[in-house]
C-alpha cells in the first residue's frame, strides 16, 4: 500500500492494522455473543410459563390437621395446617434425633408456625409421599409417609426415617397476609 512507503508510515500503518483487527474481533465477538445469547434464551421457559410459575394460594379453607396438594412448576406442593399440639410436638423434637437436623423455625415462616409448605417429592427416589388428609397413613411421626420405600417425615417435612437422607424441599414463598401466600 502507498502509505506504507515511509518508515514512520509503515510503523503507523501496523498500529492502525492492529487497531482494526481488535475492532473487527470485538465486533464479531459481540455479534456471536448476541446470537449465542438469543439462541440460549429461546430454550428457557417463555413468558407464559414464567407467569404461571408465580401465584397466590388462599390458606383459609385448609382445616387444622389437614393439608392440600397443588401443582407448582409441574411439581406437587403440600400445604399442611398444623394443630397446636403438632406444632409443639415438632418443636420438642431433639436435634440429635433428626437425620437432617434443621430447627423448626427454618422450616416455617416466623409468626406462621401452623403452616408447613413443602415440595411433595421424596428426596430418596422421587416418589410422592402421602399424608395430606387426616385419614391418610402418615407414618410414625405424624407427617408424611413415602409409599415407595417407607421413608417417614414429620409434620414440617423433616426426614425421621430412611432410606431418604434429606428433608422435603421448601419452595420459595412468602406470606402476603395471614391466610394468603405467594408461591414462586
Amino acid at each position: 500500500m502507498a502509505e506504507n512507503g515511509a518508515t514512520s508510515g509503515a510503523h503507523e500503518g501496523e498500529e492502525r492494522r492492529d487497531f482494526l483487527k481488535i475492532l473487527f474481533g470485538a465486533t464479531a465477538a459481540v455479534g456471536a455473543g448476541a446470537i449465542v445469547w438469543s439462541f440460549g434464551a429461546a430454550l428457557e421457559p417463555g413468558e407464559a410459563a414464567r407467569d404461571q410459575s408465580v401465584f397466590d394460594v388462599d390458606l383459609a379453607p385448609i382445616e387444622p390437621n389437614s393439608g392440600i396438594s397443588l401443582r407448582w412448576r409441574g411439581k406437587p406442593v403440600f400445604i399442611r395446617h398444623l394443630t397446636a399440639e403438632q406444632v409443639s410436638a415438632v418443636e420438642a423434637t431433639p436435634m440429635k434425633d433428626l437425620l437432617d437436623p434443621v430447627p423448626v423455625k427454618q422450616r416455617v415462616r416466623p409468626g406462621h408456625h401452623q403452616y408447613a409448605v413443602v415440595i411433595g417429592i421424596c428426596p430418596h427416589r422421587g416418589c410422592i409421599p402421602v399424608g395430606n388428609k387426616a385419614s391418610d397413613p402418615r407414618g410414625p411421626y405424624d407427617g408424611w409417609l413415602c409409599p415407595c420405600h417407607g421413608a417417614a417425615f414429620d409434620a414440617v417435612g423433616r426426614v425421621r426415617r430412611g432410606p431418604a437422607r434429606q428433608n422435603l424441599a421448601i419452595p420459595p414463598y412468602r406470606f402476603v397476609s395471614d391466610t394468603l401466600i405467594r408461591l414462586g
Binding site: S38, F39, A41, A42, L43, E44, G46, E47, A48
Partner: protein, 398 residues
C-alpha cells in the same frame, strides 16, 4: 498469517487428523483465477445461508407440533411466547429468502458466464439437482407451516403428483398419508423438509468436489487459465468479506423491517370445507407456480415444471459454442438478461388472480422460457459472431 507460525511442525492432533492441512490445501492456498468478481462469492454465501437455516431450523424443531391444527398454532406461539422466538422464526423464514436470492443469482451467473462448459457438465447438473432439492425443501417448509394457504398448496401439489402416469395416484396418497390433507400429512411434510434439508448438504459437497475436479470457471470463460493468472483463494478474503457484509446487511434489514417478505401470511386455520380465495406460494416458488399454471391441467403443469429443470440441466449440450462467457457473446448475453426479466414477469404474473391479462402473461412468459432453451440457445451459438477471447485473463485496473 505468519507462514512459520501456521506451518510449524504439526502437532499431535494434526498428524492424526490433518484438518489444518485440508484447510490450507483445499481453501487458503488453493489456486483460483485472478479475475473472479463479487458474484463468485455466492457459493460461500449459500454455505452461510445453509448454516443459518440449519441452526434456526433445529431451534424451531424444538417447538414445532406436527399436527393439522398444531402446526400453525405452534409457530405463532413460538413467535410470540418464546424468548427471541420472533428472531429465530424469521432467521429461518427470511433465511430461505436469502438462500434463494443467492441461488437464483448463482444460477444466472452460471448461464451468463457459461460455467457449465469446459468439463463442468456434471458440476452443473449437480447444481441443478441441488436447486431442485432447495425447491423441494422450500416447498415442504412452506407446506409444514399449516394453515389454510399451506394446506391448499399441499392439496394442489398432490394433484400434480397424482398426474404422473402409472404410479402417480399411489404416490400422491403416499405423499398425503391418505386421500386428503389429514392427520398423517403434517409429520410427513416435516420429515421430508428435514431429511431433504440435510441431504442438500451432501449434494452441495458432491457439487463442490465435481467443481474442483474441472478447470475453474471464470468470468472470461477461459477454459484453462494460464498458471501465471492464478492466485491463492486467500487473496479473495476481502471480496468474500464484502459479499458477506452486503448479504448480512440485507438479511438484517429484512428480518428487522420486513419479516416474511414475499411469503404468504398464514394465520387462517384450515377448514376441510373451504379454501383460501387464492393460494400463493413464497416468492421463490412463484416461477414454477407460473409454469404449473400454464400447463392448464395438473399433468401439463407437472410436465412443464420438470421439463424446465431438465432443460436447465441440459444446457451444456444445448449450447455447443466455442466461446463460453457472455462477456464476449453480446447477443447471448442479451438473451440471458431477457430470460432473467422473463422469469421475474412470470413470477409476478403467477401471484395474480386468474383474470384479465394475467393468464396470457403467464402463457407468454412460459413459452419464452422454453424458446430460450430449445431455440434461442442453440441458434445463437450458430449465428453469433463472438468477440475474440483473450488468451490470458484480462488485467482490469480498478
Amino acid at each position: 498469517m505468519d507462514k512459520s507460525e501456521s506451518e510449524a511442525a504439526p502437532g499431535w492432533l494434526e498428524t492424526r487428523l490433518p484438518l489444518c492441512a485440508v484447510w490450507r490445501t483445499q481453501w487458503r492456498d488453493h489456486l483460483v483465477p485472478a479475475n473472479l468478481t463479487l458474484v463468485w462469492s455466492f457459493g460461500v454465501l449459500v454455505a452461510v445461508a445453509l448454516g443459518v437455516l440449519t441452526l434456526s431450523g433445529i431451534w424451531l424443531g424444538f417447538a414445532y407440533v406436527p399436527t393439522t391444527q398444531g402446526a400453525a398454532l405452534s409457530i405463532e406461539r413460538y413467535t410470540r411466547a418464546v424468548n427471541f422466538g420472533w428472531l429465530i422464526r424469521d432467521l429461518h423464514r427470511d433465511g430461505a429468502t436469502m438462500l434463494f436470492g443467492v441461488v437464483f443469482i448463482e444460477l444466472f451467473r452460471g448461464i451468463y458466464y457459461g460455467s457449465y462448459r469446459n468439463r463442468r457438465e456434471l458440476a452443473w447438473i449437480i447444481e441443478v439437482v441441488r436447486f431442485f432439492a432447495f425447491l423441494a425443501v422450500g416447498f415442504f417448509g412452506f407446506a409444514m407451516t399449516g394453515g389454510a394457504v399451506a394446506d391448499a398448496a399441499v392439496t394442489i401439489m398432490a394433484a400434480h403428483i397424482a398426474a404422473i402416469p402409472l404410479f402417480g395416484s399411489a404416490l400422491a396418497h403416499w405423499f398425503l398419508g391418505g386421500f386428503m390433507v389429514g392427520s398423517a400429512t403434517a409429520p410427513r411434510l416435516a420429515m421430508a423438509h428435514e431429511t431433504i434439508g440435510f441431504l442438500v448438504l451432501l449434494i452441495a459437497l458432491l457439487g463442490f468436489m465435481a467443481s474442483r475436479a474441472a478447470p475453474p470457471a471464470n468470468p472470461d470463460g477461459i477454459a484453462v487459465p494460464d498458471p501465471r493468472d492464478m492466485v491463492p483463494q486467500s487473496a479473495y478474503a476481502g471480496k468474500l468479506f464484502t459479499a458477506f457484509m452486503i448479504f448480512a446487511l440485507i438479511f438484517a434489514v429484512i428480518v428487522a423491517f420486513a419479516p416474511g417478505l414475499g411469503q404468504p401470511a398464514g394465520m387462517s386455520l384450515t377448514s376441510p370445507m373451504a379454501m383460501p380465495v387464492q393460494p400463493v406460494p413464497p416468492w421463490y416458488l412463484l416461477g414454477f407456480h407460473g409454469l404449473a399454471r400454464a400447463g392448464q391441467s395438473a399433468g401439463g403443469g407437472t410436465l412443464l415444471t420438470v421439463a424446465a429443470l431438465v432443460l436447465l440441466g441440459a444446457l451444456p449440450w444445448l449450447d455447443q459454442g466455442i466461446v463460453a462467457s457472455g462477456r464476449y457473446r453480446p447477443l447471448y448475453a442479451g438473451f440471458v438478461i431477457v430470460l432473467a426479466i422473463d422469469w421475474v414477469v412470470l413470477s409476478v404474473a403467477a401471484a395474480q388472480p386468474a383474470t384479465g391479462i394475467w393468464p396470457a402473461v403467464i402463457d407468454i412468459a412460459t413459452i419464452y422460457v422454453f424458446v430460450h432453451f430449445i431455440v434461442i440457445t442453440p441458434l445463437v451459438t450458430m449465428l453469433e459472431r463472438a468477440h475474440p477471447v483473450p488468451a490470458r485473463i484480462a488485467r482490469r485496473t480498478a
